[in-house]
């Protein structure tokens, strides 16, 4: 067995030996990050409207005495915990936006062993965990050699197409050893690849000069239904794995009036970028043909597009993460990401996404996180940071 491998295993075993006691210590120190999860979760933070939540994150960075707290030109909050050597850095990212509009009442309820409220898991908890790291590391007596760069990235979800994460990475000047994306949901989540994705919106409009006497004339609802049926005829391969999801349909507002316009939101994900390109072309053709045949105006807009990317399952970062999970009794659920991880890996960084606790009703108003599993979820995060810092995750 090579000497280098023995050292790596020994180092990891050393780290894992303390896992149960550290988990208990984190449980004792829970108040600070649970408080942040509630306070941040109660600030509405829709994509493109994250400013107030981001400001609060920067305040926390300042209060925690981090270096260079601030908001960059893309709206991301970031700060640094300087390492003892500081020759390299570890990047921790948590997205600051959530799927709920400001009109939704952002109230988090705190029970004995759970918390409930819109966006508490996705991603108020991830943000709070990221913010808490410097204090937790101090309380656990851990000093990192690397700098720890903490980022609350905005403009991550939906139409934003990871704009905040891409912007931060493009302007980041420091050498970074590895990255971790932190999500509240779900404990066991292990993403080390980004799935090729195309998100789009098709809008259909019945023009003002539409001939209502023509054969087959109808309102936008009937037309959209016909269009959806045609799209469903597109063959979807099982290998490479590919999926087409209709995620939203808006049309009409009454009982007795045919609407003149409507829209359909969809997402294509595939392990093969070429398949996504083919399906995009097919969708465009269907829209054009449908428009010509029905006399309606049909337009398809691609709002987000991501390439497939990833690091191998055998990469030391992934392998170490699996070992940590195994020690913690967490069953890894390998799940390709469509989120910020894509930006990190496409930016050339070895990176993974971790979830922190078990979650119910994800992305519903009554989104609920369980507190008991959270402490081992936090401990896996701290242990992985330490493992990266000690060079255990180098390829």
């Amino acid at each position: 067995m090579p000497v280098e491998q023995i050292d790596t295993e020994a180092l990891l075993n050393d780290l894992l030996r303390d896992f149960p006691s550290r988990t208990e210590k984190i449980r004792e120190k829970k108040d600070s990050f649970l408080t942040d999860a509630v306070l941040l979760g109660e600030i509405p933070s829709p994509t493109f409207g994250e400013q107030e939540r981001v400001r609060t994150v920067v305040d926390r960075f300042r209060e925690n005495g981090l270096s260079n707290p601030g908001v960059d030109e893309f709206g991301n909050a970031s700060a640094q915990l300087p390492g003892t050597e500081g020759q390299s850095s570890i990047l921790i990212m948590a997205h600051a936006d959530c799927v709920f509009s400001p009109e939704v009442r952002h109230e988090i309820q705190v029970g004995s062993d759970s918390m409930t409220g819109p966006g508490i898991a996705d991603n108020a908890l991830g943000l709070a965990a990221m913010i808490s790291l410097p204090r937790l590391l101090k309380e656990l007596g851990i000093e990192l050699r690397d700098n720890l760069i903490l980022v609350a990235n905005c403009k991550s979800l939906g139409r934003a197409n990871l704009e905040g994460a891409h912007g931060f990475l493009e302007t980041m000047s420091q050498p970074v050893r590895a990255g971790i994306c932190v999500e509240g949901s779900t404990l066991g989540r292990l993403s080390y690849s980004g799935l090729g994705t195309l998100r789009g919106e098709i809008t259909l409009q019945v023009p003002s000069d539409y001939d209502w006497k023509r054969f087959g004339a109808s309102g936008a609802i009937s037309h959209l239904t016909g269009l959806i049926n045609q799209i469903r005829e597109i063959p979807i391969p099982k290998e490479p794995k590919t999926q087409l999801v209709f995620g939203g349909l808006k049309c009409g507002s009454s009982y007795n009036t045919s609407p003149r316009q409507g829209s359909l939101r969809f997402e294509i994900t595939s392990e093969e970028d070429g398949i996504i390109g083919q399906m995009e072309n097919q969708l465009n053709e269907i829209c054009e043909q449908f428009s010509a045949e029905t006399g309606t105006l049909v337009n398809m807009e691609v709002v987000a597009k991501r390439q497939n990317c990833g690091i191998p399952y055998t990469h030391p970062l992934v392998k170490t993460t699996r070992s940590i999970m195994q020690k913690a009794g967490i069953t890894p659920q390998v799940d390709p990401s469509t989120g910020d991880l894509n930006a990190l890996i496409l930016g050339g960084l070895p990176a993974v996404t971790l979830g922190l606790t078990t979650v119910e009703n994800l992305r519903e108003i009554n989104e609920t996180i369980q507190l008991d599993p959270l402490y081992s979820g936090m401990c896996q995060l701290v242990t992985l940071i330490q493992a990266i810092d000690q060079g255990i995750c180098e390829a």
Partner: protein, 326 residues
């Protein structure tokens, strides 16, 4: 309105953001050697107590050591209030276990009163347990004027940050009992006190030395009695008030508010009686005082409301002269 009244509002009305610098506030507290106790009176508050204890303890005891002691004093909850509160680290007491020799009465005022004995602080801050948007400002906004200004002994909360409506004005946002009962009563009997924007708010902080000198109604009248008794003892200058922005809480039924008003009226008339205002009734004020807010400034509106009366019709000659009236 007199110049004196105007000055009081300017000098003694604060906004919680005036005290955002908690590091400075803690330094000032320590310099003055003050100890601060926080008390949450509870009765079946399992839905909101966990969040209150978590956030207030974490922010104001661990992150910024502004509060030295934090107690939940319970009237005998039958839900999980006590379990949830102690899970998040609060010291939990049953009101019936405090000063058992004086017996046990059930009501919020009982818990507030017994807190004076149970807690050690020079300043006691009371926060209701039913606030669903709890934030550290609910405490630091109230104790800060007491830390900074020795002449102030009692700080009252008010809520709803003023928003400009299309008319440019909006009412002060007091509750229904405040607007329909308390403000008219204060306008009649204690015009100076009508400057307190939300006299019934359940959040206030006070110095021990004044709290120990006044009686506590155990029920709905406790907030009103505090104002009347301290006004009688120390005058308006002892009070201050802080805008805590929005407060989200349970809405009460009209029946419940009727019961509350009945309790408050008992307290009020007791005070009128002991202060000799019933036996030697002064000329009643004819000015009704309420608040409006414009561009973030609080302005008291004074309207003359004279309830003129007509005599019984039978006393009117023209009426008596009608042929069908004999």
């Amino acid at each position: 309105m007199s110049m004196k009244e105007n000055n009081w509002i300017d000098r003694n009305t604060f906004h919680h953001s005036d005290f955002w610098d908690l590091i400075k506030l803690v330094e000032e507290k320590e310099k003055k050697g003050l100890k601060i106790s926080l008390c949450i009176p509870t009765l079946n508050e399992e839905k909101t107590i966990g969040k209150e204890v978590l956030i207030l303890r974490s922010e104001l005891m661990e992150r910024y050591p502004l509060v030295d002691e934090f107690a939940v004093i319970d009237s005998g909850s039958e839900d999980k209030t006590l379990e949830v509160a102690s899970n998040y680290g609060a010291d939990v007491y049953l009101a019936s276990d405090i000063l058992p020799e004086v017996g046990n009465k059930r009501g919020k005022g009982e818990n507030l009163w017994k807190a004076i004995h149970q807690l050690k602080g020079d300043i006691i801050c009371y926060v209701d347990a039913d606030i669903s948007n709890i934030h550290p400002r609910f405490v630091y906004g109230l104790v800060a004027p007491l830390i900074h200004r020795e002449e102030i002994s009692y700080v009252k909360a008010f809520y709803d940050r003023p928003l400009n409506y299309s008319s440019g004005l909006r009412p002060s946002g007091g509750g229904r009992v405040t607007e329909i009962l308390i403000r008219p009563l204060f306008s009649l009997f204690y015009p100076e006190l009508s400057q307190i924007i939300q006299p019934l708010s359940g959040e206030y902080a006070a110095r021990r030395e004044v709290l120990e000198k006044i009686p506590f109604p155990i029920g709905y009248g406790v907030e009103t009695s505090h104002l009347l008794d301290l006004y009688q003892l120390y005058g308006l200058e002892t009070f201050a008030q802080t805008d805590l922005d929005r407060r989200v809480h349970r809405n009460q039924t009209t029946n419940a508010l009727g019961k509350m008003s009945f309790g408050i009226l008992q307290t009020f008339f007791n005070r009128l009686h002991t202060q000799g205002k019933l036996d030697r009734m002064p000329d009643l004020e004819t000015f009704y005082r309420r608040f409006e807010v414009e561009d973030g400034n609080y302005r008291q509106l004074i309207q003359e409301v004279v309830e003129e009366e007509r005599p019984p019709m039978i006393e009117i000659e023209g009426y008596r002269n009608r042929p069908d009236i004999s």
